[in-house]
Subunit: 513 residues, 2 copies
């Protein structure tokens, strides 16, 4: 058995059965091993950013890591931006990076690069195999590291000779430590704080945003008067009718500061200290008021859901009170505003959909109304590295077969990893992409105004996408994805209804103001 | 004057007047400064790999560095693969990377990443400004570093507050040291070696491949009997009728070994030790025979052209002998083979064209015949990180206005940075792209055979691009580039003739076997 075969066998033994791949020469033995060993689903991406973003979306839906197969240092580099996002989402992920043979690396052939150096900033685990005999163990250790709470990226660098040499040994799965236990002292402390009756807020992140822990959070809120809020960017939120309608920390600084105004106690549950996304001249960058005390109920690597349940019990909180049913969203067939588009999209959201949110400025308000839609999961861009939406939708569809993925996508961001559409077509994935085509980097025009500048022709030239206009129907069609354009509410509604009746990917090019 | 303004003024003072950009929020002050200060041409790319590859192509044609404007760590990461290629081409290039404000970075906001750590492996110079007052000096030092022979990447990281704070100081250009002098001892040594009459070869890289030094190399060859060869991958080669028709080290290992067989003395002129691109099980990875002596006439940072002239004089070599004119290429209108396509493309090559070579497996043989075409410059993918062709063509067209760029492009590689077409349309660049659409990663199928594997269905699934087929005419049209398809020699010839008559970009989707 060669090293590559031991790797495939070990991954399968550890429960990793999906591999998003963009292979190169140094990975040919791994590819050959996939041919010989059944059980691994291989999904080809035409660019590494597609591969890594898809693995992120897959793990967010399954809770299990996928493998990525990347080609040498530059192939890894192409995937780094979405690995950055995955790291911020605390996604378990195995990055397998082929590399020059151990004895070839010192010769500095053209493709040789600092693979380890590039991997380290996004990885919780980096290991370079040095011999075929250790590849299996390295793989088991990587899977263990990826799944260690709260989830992280494990990068396994595989020099070509460690893949092709004989002597591979299949390793058994290593035990995955459970999330750190809830600290009873932290629970009692939080309960004491809440009983004081001062203005308090729970800031939730990670698994605390799934349906059951949100119910426990609502019990706490009802019993104590504390407010609830989710982090600005979250891997996954349970959402829709019947679920707790938690808000998120807003992106615009003034709104973010307002969300925390007057709070005296901020209790972190799987979340980190809230800070502004960027700094602005002369403005605060910590969002909690200066006199707000920060308390930690559960660190990200602790069991946030269990901590919420324990705190609710400690408070003797009854079951969450019945919530008045919000009016369901209603399609708007005329004007196309951010608000009307949100109503129309949410009214057409299929039951149990998976929503991918890289909606940019036009679609920023959709989430706030999505508690009124059919139950769904909401997955966000988590690290601010745009170009995650289309790949994440691709991986989420593979991780959640039978559920429709609705991908809310800004046009500028879509262009970063547009190649993902091809994989959606190839794998016949049930993804409806809505491209909000405002033909500019609208968020930057806002930021330019924030810094006090009126854009002149050069600045506008660096933020406008309208010369030439991007034709999204042609772009999608070029990659085998059926698509159509809409420029008003009626057109949007009709295309959403059509998309819901068919299988496979569909793209709606929505011209927005 | 704020830091950003001091940066723009300093770049202009240092002769850097072109900026390829994909800006984000942290770069808004730089963008605003571009508005206020005339003289900097800003070229927008819709993905950072386009931006860095274009800067590489620009510098290869002008000999001067362009600036790239990139957004934080992940924006840099997206541009790393083509920075890797630029590093291998020894291209002078200034990477300006916006980043979190100095006081915001410790808060670890979502977009925060290890910007310096990612920049270092591709950069000869990395500096993070810590205050507005030092930005100007940092910029001048970066330009100096980029231009220091043989050329390198200088990364200047610009925290947002160092851009927006007042107190910027414009710095004067710093002196650029000339290339290291020719070593007279190395010239005399090389002459002694050549006079022995043993089988000898000069391996040329860098500036030694421009027209005049190639003439001197030909004088040396004629006087001594030594053979000439260029590195496998080169930034720029002067090529076409009337010029010295130097060959390159072949990519396939057997051919590469054959190229050096029997050579007793290998003299390096701006080149490095020749090694195989990848290692293969049980095969050699150094290309020169074991008993071949290696001699260094000029290191890459030395003046290779001057060294060749000095060596030719030392040998008393007369002017290069008249070369018999090779028959010009002739279009082939029927079958479409690699050979016939090469003839057709080269027959239509406009005078003084710039050829970009990311032609992959189908187009690999075109170079070998290009000495018979009209005079041109030949620019290659230098670091093996595919996705360089379309961006490099974009930058080369901006760096060489008035010359037609002919971009020979493999289909799989084209998908990595397909966004470059939009910039070609926006800037009305005279680029003819020929996509060789064989609908597979053909090079990998060859490599899989090299490792002794017969591809089964899973392996084929990871190397085929035909489900669905990519529609290149739609993809180009989606980005505003006129395009047409051809599937035989006549169609190719007609489209090449048409492309030559028009201005602006044009894409030929060439279906090949």
């Amino acid at each position: 058995m060669n090293g590559a075969e031991s790797l495939v066998h070990t991954l399968l033994a550890c429960g990793v059965d999906t591999c998003f791949a963009n292979p190169g020469t140094s990975e040919m033995h791994f590819v050959a091993a996939l041919d010989r060993i059944p059980g691994m689903r291989s999904v080809l991406g035409l660019f590494e950013g597609v591969v890594t973003g898809a693995a992120d979306g897959y793990a967010r839906m399954t809770g299990r890591p996928a493998a990525c197969l990347l080609h040498c240092g530059p192939g890894l580099a192409n995937g780094l931006a979405n690995l950055h996002n995955a790291r911020r989402a605390r996604t378990p992920l195995i990055a397998i990076i082929g590399d020059q043979a151990t004895y070839h690396r010192p010769l500095d052939a053209p493709l040789t690069a600092d693979t380890e150096g590039w991997a380290r900033p996004v990885s919780g685990f980096v290991r370079t195999a040095t011999a075929a005999a250790e590849v299996g163990h390295c793989a088991a250790a990587a899977v263990q590291a990826a799944q260690t709470a709260p989830g992280q990226i494990a990068s396994l660098i595989l020099p070509a000779d460690t893949a092709w040499d004989e002597g591979g040994v299949v390793a058994a799965p290593l035990p995955v430590p459970p999330p750190s236990l809830v600290d009873p002292g932290a629970v009692r402390h939080a309960a004491r704080v809440l009983r004081r009756g001062e203005p308090a807020m729970l800031l939730l992140g990670g698994a605390a945003l799934l349906a059951t822990p949100l119910e426990d959070a609502a019990r706490i809120a009802a019993a104590s008067g504390a407010r609830l809020i989710a982090q600005q960017q979250n891997a996954r939120i349970a959402r829709g009718r019947g679920r707790v309608a938690i808000g998120r920390v807003p992106y615009p600084l003034d709104q973010a500061l307002a969300a925390f105004a007057g709070i005296r106690h901020l209790i972190l549950v799987g979340a980190t200290l809230p800070v502004s996304f960027f700094a602005y001249p002369g403005r605060p960058n910590r969002l909690a008021p200066p006199d707000c005390e920060i308390h930690v109920l559960a660190r990200p690597e602790q069991d946030g859901p269990a901590a919420l349940a324990a705190l609710a019990d400690e408070l003797g909180a009854p079951a969450a009170p019945a919530r008045a049913a919000a009016p369901p969203p209603a399609p708007v067939r005329d004007a196309l505003t951010p608000e009307s588009a949100a109503e129309t999209i949410l009214a057409h959201l299929p039951e149990d959909a998976v929503v991918i949110d890289e909606a940019g400025s036009f679609g920023r308000g959709i989430f706030a109304q999505s508690h009124r839609a059919a139950p769904h999961d909401w997955l966000q861009l988590t690290g601010g590295a745009i170009g995650d939406g289309l790949p994440m939708a691709t991986g989420a569809a593979i991780g959640a077969p039978g559920r429709r993925v609705v991908s809310l996508q800004a046009d500028g961001s879509a262009m970063y990893t547009i190649q993902a559409l091809w994989t959606q077509a190839r794998e016949r994935l049930d993804v409806t992409t809505i491209v909000f085509a405002n033909r500019r980097y609208a968020i930057l025009l806002g930021e330019l105004a924030n810094v006090g500048a009126n854009p002149g022709p050069r600045a506008l030239g660096m933020m406008s996408l309208d010369d030439p206009d991007l034709d999204w129907v042609k772009l999608a069609g070029g990659m085998g994805v059926e698509a159509a354009a809409a420029a008003d509410g009626a057109g949007l509604a009709d295309l959403l209804a059509y998309a819901a009746t068919r299988r496979g990917p569909f793209l709606i090019a929505l011209s927005v103001p």
